[in-house]
C-alpha cells in the first residue's frame, strides 16, 4: 500500500514538473513528445520487494536499454525497449514520430530481468536481429540471454540456444563486431558481478574465470557449419568475478584496422582496453595507454571530440556536479583505502567522468576536468552525436538513481543503531535511502576541448532516473532526436526542432555477411575539417544505435572528400559528395590501405644510459595534514650536470629521496660509469630536492650544493640541512662535506655571482614550513665570503612557498636580477642594485598561481631577457579567476596550535571548501559540532563566512589568479606582458623548463617537463601531458613542436637538464619515483 502511494507522489511531481517546463520550451532545441502523441507508452517501472532490491542485488537501479534500428527495412528506424520488471517491447516507426507496439504480433517473448539490448544482423541476411541480455543464475533467476532472429516478415524467432549464445549469468550488454575480420559478426558479451566487495582481493583475481560474472568473447563459426564458439580464454579476455562490467565500446582506437574493445568496470577493478593483436588475440593495455580512469566506471562512448581524426573515449562515473549534493555524497576513497588498492595491483582511478583524448600514439590524456564534463552525478549512458549539426559532435549523458547509496548521512546516521533481532528489513533499509531525480545533461562542444552545459538552453532539463539512450533521425527531417529509457517514468522522446546545419547520413554495404559494414571507418573532409565515424552500434548504456554514420556539416556546401576504410584492409575515396541526404556506399575502386608511417620520433633514447631510479619514501603528508592539496614531501629528485673530474665531459649528479643515496654518473668515452661516493652513502637519509654544481672556492673544480627538503621533519631538524660538498681532486669525501646551518624545507638553489666579486653566491628557495601547509616560509640568499663559505645575507628574504628561481637581467642594466616563483604568490622580480637585491620586488600583477618552475632567456631576440613560468595547469577541478578566485584561508580554527588550511573554490556559483566534510572534521574536530550532519553542511550558505566565524581572531587569506603556464615578454622598460603558453602545455603542472640555445632556424627550443602524481586524491593524478616541446621564433610566439606522449614517454617529471655527450646536446629527464632517462632531441626531423 505504501509503495503505491509513494509511486503516485513521484509521478505527480514529475508531471507538474514537466508541464511547467513545457511552456518555457517553446523556442528551444528539443521538444518532449508525450507517450500519448508518439505511442511509446513504455515505462521501466520498478517495485522493490523484500527479496529483490538494491541491497540484495546491487545493480537493482541500473535501469534498462533501448535499441534503434530498421527491423523491417522500410527506411524508418524502429525502437526496442528492455524492462527490468516489465516486459520488453518492440515499436514500429510509422513516420511522423508515431509508433505502434508490435511486441505481441512480432513474437518477441518476454525476458526476465532484462538489461542491455543490441540490434545486429547476426546471421548476415540483411535484416536486423535483436539480442537481449538478462540477469540469470542469481537468486532464483533462471533466464538466459535471448537472440531474436528476424524472420523478414515482421516476426522473430528466439534462437539463442541454436546459435550458442544462450548464456545465463549476470549479463549487461552485448556488442556484435568482426574482431577476426573474416566477414561475419562475432559477439562480445559484457557481464557484471555480484561478488561481495567485502574483501578486496589482489588484482590477479582477474585471471580466474567465473561462471556467472566476467566477460565472454564468442567467435562466429556459422560459415563453417558451427555456432558461436566461446573463445574467451584463448583470445586473452579476462572473465573473472571482479569484472564489474557496466560499459562496453568497440572502437579501433589505434587506427590499425583492427577493432579494439573498451570495458568500463565498476568498483576497484581497472577498466580494460583490449588492443586487437590481429591474430585472434587481444592484449589488455589499459594501464599502459591510459594514465588513469574513472573509478566507478559506468557507461562509455567513443568518438572524435577534438577534430584531430583520432577516436577519443568518454567514461562515466558518479561525482555530483551540484555543490550541495556534492557536500553530502561519498566520493573518493580515503587515502588508506586507495593505498590498499594500489598495493593490490589496481591502477589509478578517480571518481569522475573521464574524457580520454587520444594522442594517436597509444596514449590518452584525461581532460574531462578541463573540458568541464567531469561531474554529472550517477551517470549511466554517454552518447556522442552532433545535436546542432554544426560539425562538432556533442555529448549527451543520462543519469539519476532512485536511491542514492552514497548519501553520507544514510551511511553514517540514518541507517540504524542496532542489529540482530531489531534489524529492519532490507526493504526498510532501502526506503531510508534518499533519492533525487536530476536532469540528463547535454554538453555542447565549443571546440578546443571545452563543453558548455546546454541542458537548460536546449530544453532538456527534465528531472528523471534515466539509463539507456539512443540518438536517431526518427522523423527523417535531417537532425538527430533522442530516445531515453527511464525508471518509473515514460520513455523520453526528444524531437530535435532546433535549427540544424547541413548533414550527410552514410550507410555502408560491404557485400559480405557483415551486411551493414560494422567496423567501417568513415572520414569526411569538409570546410577544412576532418570528422570521423566508426560503424559500431553498441553505444551509450545497455543500448545500440543504427549502423549509420550521421555527419553534421554546418555551413559546408559539400563534402570535399569521404574516405571509407572497409573492414579489412581496403579503402576508397569519394569526392565532392552532395549533402542533406542519405548516401549508400558500396565497395568500388578500392585501394590497399596504406597506414601512415609514424614520423621520426622527436625524442629517442640516448645510447648513453643513465641507470637510475628515484624511489620516493612512503611518508604521506595527509597523515598529518588532511587538508593539504598536494604532498610537499614528493619534491625530488635533485639533478645537476657538470664536469666533476675535469676531463672535459659533463657528469651527472642525481640525488635521491629519504633513504636513497645520491649517485654520480661520470662520463667516459662509451657511456657513464656509476659511482656512489662513501659520503653520499652516509648522507642517504637526506631527501635531495635540488642540486647545482658551483666552484665555491674558486679552485678551478666544481663543488656541489645539494638542497635538503621534505615535509616530514620539523624545521630545525638536521635532516633539513643543505649540504655543500667540496671537490678535492675530483672526489667528494666525508671531510669535504659541510652541513649548512639553515634547516628548512628547501626547494631550489640558484647560483650566481650577485655582487660581482668573482665568487658564486646562491639563492635558496624554501618550499614550506613542515607540517603547516600555507604558512609562508622564508627563502634567503647565501653570500660567498671569499673563503669558500656561504653566509646568509640577513638583509634579504623572500616570504612564500617557493618552488623555483631564475637569475636574469630584468632591467637590462648588465647585472643579474632574481625572479622568484611559488604557490599563492605572484611572479616576483627582485632587482639587483649595486650588488645587492632590493627588498621591494616588482610583482607581475594577476599572476598569483601555483608556480612550479621559471626560466629566463631572450625568447623574441630583442636583446632583453624574457621569462617562461610553469604553473599547475588548467586540467584541475580547482578553477580560478580574478572574480572567483581559489582561496586559502589559514587560521588555527580550533586553537590546537596547528594552523588549519582551508581551500575554497567556486562551483556553480557557490564558494565552498575543496576538502570534504570528513577531511575538515579530521583536521578541525569542532567542525563536527558546527555541522553535526552532512545535510546541515550541504544546506549551509556562505561557508567561508561560517568557517571564519568559528575563530574570528586572526586568519590569513591567500588567492590564486591563474593556474595557466605563461611566458612573459620583457618590454624593456621594466614591465612584462603575460601570454599563455599554447594548448597541451596547460594540461599538467609544468615542473621544469629547459631553454636551449638559439637554433639555426632562428627559434629558441624549449622543453617542459610536466605532470604531478603528488596531488591529493580529490585533485587526482595529473598525468595528461608529461612534457612538451616548444619553439619560440624571433617574432615572439611559441609554437608546439611535439610532446612526450607522442614519443611514448610518461611519468612525473621534475628535472629537465641538458647534458653534452660527444659534443652533442642531449636531454636528461628525471622523474619523481621513477627512472631517469637521457634522450636525443631530433630537432631536424
Amino acid at each position: 500500500m505504501n509503495k503505491i502511494v509513494f509511486t503516485c507522489i513521484l509521478a505527480a511531481v514529475l508531471f507538474s514538473c514537466s508541464s511547467s517546463q513545457e511552456e518555457q520550451r517553446e523556442d528551444v532545441r528539443f521538444r518532449l513528445v508525450s507517450a500519448v502523441e508518439s505511442g511509446l507508452n513504455f515505462k521501466n517501472q520498478l517495485q522493490p520487494d523484500e527479496n529483490w532490491n538494491i541491497i540484495d542485488y546491487l545493480y537493482y537501479y541500473n535501469g534498462a536499454g533501448v535499441s534503434v534500428g530498421d527491423i523491417n527495412n522500410d527506411g524508418l528506424p524502429d525502437l526496442f525497449f528492455t524492462g527490468n520488471e516489465v516486459d520488453n517491447r518492440l515499436f514500429l516507426n510509422q513516420g511522423d514520430l508515431k509508433f505502434r507496439d508490435i511486441t505481441g504480433e512480432s513474437s518477441i517473448l518476454p525476458g526476465g530481468w532484462s538489461t542491455g539490448s543490441t540490434m545486429a544482423d547476426v546471421n548476415g541476411d540483411g535484416w536486423l536481429d535483436i539480442y537481449v541480455c538478462q540477469v540469470g543464475r542469481y537468486r532464483g533467476r533462471k533466464e538466459r540471454n535471448q537472440l531474436f532472429i528476424n524472420n523478414q516478415d515482421g516476426t522473430f524467432t528466439e534462437m539463442a540456444a541454436e546459435y550458442g549464445l544462450d548464456f545465463s549469468g549476470l549479463s549487461t550488454q552485448a556488442a556484435f563486431f568482426d574482431y577476426d575480420l573474416d566477414g561475419d559478426l562475432d559477439m562480445y558479451l559484457l557481464n557484471h558481478s555480484v561478488h561481495s566487495v567485502n574483501s578486496y582481493g589482489p588484482a590477479t583475481i582477474r585471471q580466474e574465470k567465473d561462471p556467472m560474472a566476467g566477460d565472454r568473447l564468442f567467435r562466429n563459426d556459422l560459415a563453417t557449419g558451427g555456432v558461436f564458439t566461446d573463445v574467451t580464454r584463448n583470445a586473452g579476455i579476462f572473465s573473472s568475478q571482479i569484472g564489474y562490467g557496466l560499459g562496453l565500446a568497440i572502437t579501433d582506437y589505434n587506427n590499425d584496422g583492427l577493432p579494439d574493445i573498451y570495458v568500463s568496470n565498476d568498483f576497484h577493478e581497472n577498466d580494460y582496453l583490449y588492443r586487437n593483436l590481429g591474430n585472434g588475440k587481444f592484449a589488455e593495455v589499459g594501464e599502459q595507454v591510459l594514465g588513469h580512469t574513472s573509478r566507478y566506471s559506468m557507461g562509455n562512448e567513443t568518438g572524435d571530440l577534438n577534430g584531430d581524426g583520432n577516436i577519443d573515449l568518454v567514461t562515466l562515473d558518479m561525482l555530483p556536479g551540484d555543490p550541495s549534493i556534492l557536500r553530502k555524497s561519498a566520493a573518493e576513497d580515503r587515502i588508506e583505502v586507495s593505498e590498499i588498492k594500489a598495493n593490490y595491483g589496481y591502477g589509478p582511478q578517480f571518481v569522475r567522468n573521464a574524457l580520454q583524448i587520444n594522442s594517436g600514439h597509444e596514449a590518452f590524456s584525461d581532460l574531462g576536468v578541463m573540458a568541464g564534463m567531469y561531474a554529472t552525478d550517477w551517470s549511466w549512458g554517454a552518447l556522442i552525436f552532433d545535436m546542432e549539426y554544426d560539425g562538432k559532435p556533442d555529448l549527451y549523458i543520462t543519469n539519476g538513481i532512485v536511491r542514492r547509496p552514497n548519501d553520507l548521512d544514510y551511511i553514517q546516521y540514518l541507517a540504524f543503531t542496532s542489529r540482530k533481532s531489531l534489524d529492519p528489513s532490507d526493504k526498510e533499509m532501502t526506503s531510508r535511502m534518499p533519492g533525487l531525480k536530476i536532469p540528463n545533461v547535454a554538453f555542447h562542444n565549443q571546440g578546443n576541448i571545452s563543453f558548455a552545459d546546454s541542458t537548460t538552453a536546449y530544453g532538456l532539463n527534465v528531472p528523471s532516473f534515466s539509463n539507456g539512450a539512443v540518438y536517431s533521425d526518427l522523423d527523417r527531417d535531417g537532425d538527430l532526436d533522442i530516445v531515453v529509457n527511464n525508471i518509473n517514468d515514460d520513455v523520453f522522446l526528444w524531437e530535435n526542432t532546433g535549427p540544424a546545419g547541413n548533414y550527410l547520413e552514410i550507410e555502408v554495404r560491404p557485400g559480405s555477411s557483415n551486411h551493414f559494414g560494422v567496423g567501417s571507418r568513415i572520414e569526411l573532409y569538409a570546410a577544412g575539417q576532418i570528422q570521423v565515424r566508426e560503424i559500431f552500434t553498441t553505444r551509450g548504456f545497455m543500448s545500440s544505435v543504427e549502423p549509420l554514420a550521421y555527419f553534421g556539416l554546418g555551413d559546408a556546401s559539400k563534402a570535399d572528400s569521404i574516405v571509407v576504410y572497409w573492414p579489412g584492409n581496403e579503402r576508397q575515396k569519394i569526392l565532392n559528395a552532395d549533402l542533406n541526404r542519405r548516401l549508400t556506399i558500396v565497395p568500388e575502386n578500392t585501394e590497399k590501405n596504406i597506414r601512415n608511417k609514424t614520423n621520426t620520433p622527436l625524442l629517442t633514447t640516448s645510447s648513453f644510459n643513465v641507470d637510475w631510479q628515484h624511489k620516493e619514501n612512503s611518508y604521506r603528508d595527509y597523515k598529518r595534514e588532511p587538508l593539504i592539496p598536494y604532498e610537499l614531501s614528493m619534491e625530488g629528485p635533485a639533478a645537476a650536470v657538470g664536469d666533476v673530474n675535469g676531463d672535459g665531459r659533463d657528469d651527472i649528479f642525481v640525488g635521491g629521496a629519504h633513504g636513497q643515496a645520491s649517485v654520480l654518473f661520470l662520463q667516459e668515452t662509451g657511456g657513464f660509469s656509476k659511482t656512489i661516493p662513501a659520503v653520499f652513502t652516509g648522507d642517504a637519509e637526506f631527501e635531495d630536492v635540488a642540486a647545482e654544481f658551483l666552484d665555491v672556492d674558486l679552485d678551478g673544480d666544481l663543488d656541489l650544493y645539494v638542497v635538503s627538503g621534505g615535509n616530514e621533519y620539523a624545521e630545525g631538524s638536521e635532516m633539513l640541512s643543505d649540504r655543500l660538498y667540496i671537490n678535492r681532486n675530483g672526489t667528494f669525501d666525508r671531510a669535504s662535506r659541510v652541513l649548512l646551518p639553515e634547516r628548512l624545507n628547501g626547494s631550489t638553489v640558484s647560483i650566481n655571482d650577485l655582487n660581482g666579486d668573482g665568487f658564486p653566491d646562491a639563492f635558496i628557495g624554501v618550499r614550506s614550513v613542515p607540517g603547516s601547509y600555507g604558512t609562508f616560509a622564508t627563502s634567503y640568499l647565501l653570500i660567498n665570503n671569499g673563503n669558500g663559505e656561504l653566509i646568509r645575507d640577513e638583509s634579504f628574504s623572500v616570504e612564500g612557498m617557493i618552488t623555483d628561481a631564475a637569475w636574469f637581467d630584468a632591467d637590462n642594466d648588465g647585472d643579474q636580477d632574481l625572479c622568484v616563483v611559488g604557490d599563492w604568490s605572484p611572479i616576483r622580480i627582485f632587482l639587483n642594485e649595486n650588488g645587492t637585491l632590493t627588498d621591494e620586488p616588482y610583482e607581475v600583477s594577476g599572476t598569483r598561481g601555483w608556480w612550479r618552475s621559471v626560466a629566463a632567456v631572450d625568447l623574441d631576440n630583442d636583446g632583453d631577457d624574457d621569462l617562461i613560468a610553469g604553473n599547475a595547469g588548467l586540467n584541475m577541478k580547482l578553477k580560478t579567476s580574478v572574480e572567483k578566485p581559489v582561496e586559502l584561508y589559514l587560521n588555527d580554527i580550533d586553537g590546537n596550535g596547528q594552523p588549519d588550511p582551508v581551500i575554497f573554490y567556486w562551483l556553480e556559483g557557490q564558494q565552498i571548501p575543496f576538502a570534504s566534510k570528513d577531511e575538515l572534521d579530521k583536521q578541525v574536530p569542532v567542525f563536527k559540532k558546527q555541522f553535526s550532519s552532512y545535510q546541515a553542511y550541504a544546506d549551509a550558505d556562505d561557508l567561508p563566512q561560517v568557517i571564519r566565524q568559528m575563530n574570528p581572531e586572526g586568519g590569513i587569506v591567500r588567492r590564486v589568479d591563474t593556474f595557466a603556464s605563461v611566458w612573459l615578454e620583457n618590454a624593456g622598460n621594466g614591465t612584462f606582458s603575460v601570454s599563455l603558453l599554447p594548448g597541451e602545455t596547460q594540461w599538467s603542472p609544468v615542473q621544469d623548463i629547459f631553454v636551449g640555445k638559439r637554433q639555426v632556424k632562428g627559434g629558441v627550443p624549449v622543453i617542459l617537463g610536466a605532470n604531478s602524481y603528488a596531488m591529493n586524491i580529490a585533485i587526482g593524478r595529473m598525468d595528461a601531458m608529461p612534457g612538451s616541446l616548444l619553439l619560440f621564433d624571433e617574432n615572439g610566439g611559441p609554437e608546439l613542436t611535439g610532446n612526450f606522449l607522442e614519443n611514448g614517454i610518461q611519468g612525473d617529471f621534475r628535472v629537465v637538464k641538458p647534458v653534452m655527450v660527444n659534443g652533442e646536446e642531449q636531454i636528461l629527464l628525471v622523474r619523481n619515483n621513477g627512472e631517469a632517462e637521457l634522450m636525443n632531441v631530433n630537432n631536424n626531423r
Partner: protein, 440 residues
C-alpha cells in the same frame, strides 16, 4: 599512605563543617533518576556521533567527575578528588544557598555538551529536565545559585580537561601502516585507519603514566605451524568455526563496536552501538539502582567507573601502538583461509592487548570496590540494541566473560585476553587503592 589519607580527611572535614552552617531548607528532592537519564542521554549522543572507545571513555569521565566534585563538596561523607587526580584543583565555592543535585545535573550536561558533537541533542535534554526540576517547586534563588555554581564547576572542569593534550593530539601524525609481516594492517570491509595512535599522550587521571601497567610481551609472530603464535592463530580460527550458541551470544553481547560498516555493493551503512566503556557505564547504573544508591553514591559510582575506564584505555592504547600487532583476521586471510571472516567485525586498531579485556578488568574492580565481591546482577544494557540480557554472579564474572568474548568473536588471540584482563585488574585495583572517595 595512611598518613596522607589522614591529612586529606582533615581538610575535607573543615569544608564539611563550613557547608553545614549553610544548611538549606528550601531544597527539593531531585531524584537520582535525573542523573541516570542524563548519563543515558550522553550515551545515546556518543553512539549517534560515533566516538571511538578511548574517546568515549574520556567523554564519560569529565562530566562524571564534575558531578561528583559538586556532591563531594556538599556531602561530608565524600572527599574531593582535587589533588588526587592529576592536575585537578578544587572546584569554585557556591555563592549563596544551593541545591547540589541541581548543580550536579546541570554541570554534568554542560560538560557532556562540550565533548560531543551534537550539542543540540544534549541541550534539548538538559532543558527538558531542568524544566521538570523547576516544576518541583524549587526556590528561584536557590535554583539560580545552583545553576550558577554548576556553570562555574563545569568551567573549572573544562579548563582542567583542556590541558589533557586531547586537542593537541588531534593534529598528531596518523598511524603509518608498516609492511613488516607482524604489523597491524587495516581490516575489511572499511579498511579504516588505526584510530588514536597517540592516545598514550593523553594525561592520565589516576595512574602515574600510560606505561605503568605494561603487560607481558605478546607471543612473537611466527607462521611456522609448530610455533606458539601459529597455535594461537589456529585457536582463534578453530574456535570461530565451531562456536556453540552461547559462545556466539557472548561474543555478540560484548561486541560493543560503536561503528560496524555493512557493505552490500554500492550500499553501505553503519551499524552503531555503545562502546565497551558505554556498556560498563550501563552496568554502573544497574548496580547503583539495584543498591538503591542515593544521588551522591550514584555519581561516585559513575566517576570511579569512568576514571577506571579512561585510564584503562590509555594504558591499553599505549601497549597497542607499542606492539602494533597484526589482527587474527589478517593473518588467517593471508596464511590460512582467504575467505574467513570473524563473527565480529575487526575494530580498527592493533591487536594487543584486548581493549575490552583491559577496561572490563579495570571497571570490574572499580565496581567491586563499591558494591562488593558477590554482587549479582542482570545486565540488560544491550537490550536496546536487540541483544538478550545476561546474568552475572559478580562484576569480575562479567569482566571475565567480556574478555573471553573477544576470542569467540574472532578478533583477539588468547594472550591479549589473559594479559589484558591482568593488566586491567591491576590498574583498577591501583586506582581503587589510590583514590579516596569516602571519608573514613
Amino acid at each position: 599512605m595512611r598518613l596522607k589519607g589522614w591529612l586529606i580527611f582533615m581538610i575535607g572535614c573543615a569544608g564539611a563543617v563550613m557547608f553545614s552552617c549553610e544548611e538549606a531548607p528550601k531544597n527539593v528532592d531531585v531524584s537520582v533518576d535525573y542523573m541516570h537519564s542524563s548519563m543515558q542521554n550522553l550515551t545515546d549522543v556518543i553512539v549517534h556521533d560515533i566516538f571511538s572507545p578511548p574517546v568515549a571513555a574520556r567523554i564519560y569521565a569529565y562530566p562524571s567527575i564534575g558531578a561528583y566534585e559538586i556532591m563531594a563538596a556538599t556531602d561530608s561523607s565524600y572527599r574531593s578528588l582535587a589533588g588526587q587526580l592529576n592536575d585537578l584543583t578544587s572546584i569554585p565555592q557556591p555563592e549563596g544557598e544551593v541545591d547540589p543535585e541541581i548543580a550536579a545535573v546541570h554541570a554534568f550536561n554542560l560538560l557532556g555538551k562540550k565533548y560531543i558533537f551534537s550539542e543540540d541533542r544534549v541541550m534539548a535534554f538538559h532543558d527538558s529536565i531542568m524544566t521538570d526540576i523547576r516544576k518541583l517547586g524549587v526556590d528561584e534563588e536557590v535554583y539560580t545559585n545552583s545553576v550558577n555554581w554548576g556553570d562555574a564547576v563545569a568551567a573549572h572542569i573544562a579548563e582542567w580537561s583542556n590541558l589533557d593534550n586531547y586537542s593537541e593530539s588531534r593534529s598528531f601524525m596518523k598511524h603509518t601502516v608498516s609492511s613488516d609481516p607482524d604489523s597491524w594492517q587495516p581490516t575489511p570491509p572499511a579498511y579504516m585507519e588505526a584510530i588514536e595512535p597517540h592516545w598514550s599522550s593523553i594525561r592520565t587521571f589516576a595512574i602515574d603514566s600510560a606505561d605503568q601497567f605494561t603487560p607481558e610481551r605478546p607471543t612473537a609472530f611466527n607462521v611456522d605451524p609448530e610455533s606458539q603464535f601459529y597455535k594461537e592463530v589456529m585457536e582463534v580460527y578453530e574456535t570461530g568455526k565451531s562456536l556453540d550458541e552461547e559462545q556466539s551470544e557472548i561474543a555478540s553481547f560484548w561486541d560493543c563496536n560503536p561503528y560496524v560498516m555493512n557493505v552490500h555493493g554500492h550500499v553501505m551503512f553503519a551499524t552503531k552501538k555503545i562502546t565497551p566503556g558505554g556498556h560498563w557505564m550501563g552496568i554502573a547504573k544497574i548496580a547503583a539502582q539495584l543498591d538503591n544508591a542515593d544521588f551522591a553514591k550514584t555519581v561516585y559510582t559513575y566517576a570511579l567507573t569512568a576514571i577506571a575506564l579512561s585510564d584503562g584505555f590509555i594504558s591499553c592504547w599505549d601497549e597497542k601502538y607499542r606492539s602494533n600487532l597484526i589482527r587474527p583476521e589478517t593473518v588467517i586471510n593471508r596464511y590460512i583461509d582467504e575467505e574467513w571472516t570473524p563473527l565480529l567485525q575487526t575494530p580498527p586498531f592493533p591487536e594487543y592487548t584486548s581493549g575490552h579485556s583491559v577496561i572490563s578488568g579495570a571497571a570490574g574492580e572499580a565496581l567491586t570496590s563499591i558494591y562488593g565481591e558477590n554482587f549479582a546482577f542482570v545486565d540488560s544494557t544491550e537490550a536496546k540494541y536487540g541483544l538478550p540480557i545476561r546474568s552475572f554472579e559478580s562484576f569480575r564474572d562479567a569482566s571475565s566473560e567480556a574478555a573471553i568474548s573477544r576470542l569467540y568473536g574472532g578478533i583477539h588471540y588468547r594472550p591479549a585476553i589473559d594479559n589484558g584482563i591482568t593488566q586491567g585488574r591491576a590498574l583498577g585495583n591501583y586506582i581503587v587503592d589510590k583514590l579516596q572517595f569516602r571519608e573514613e
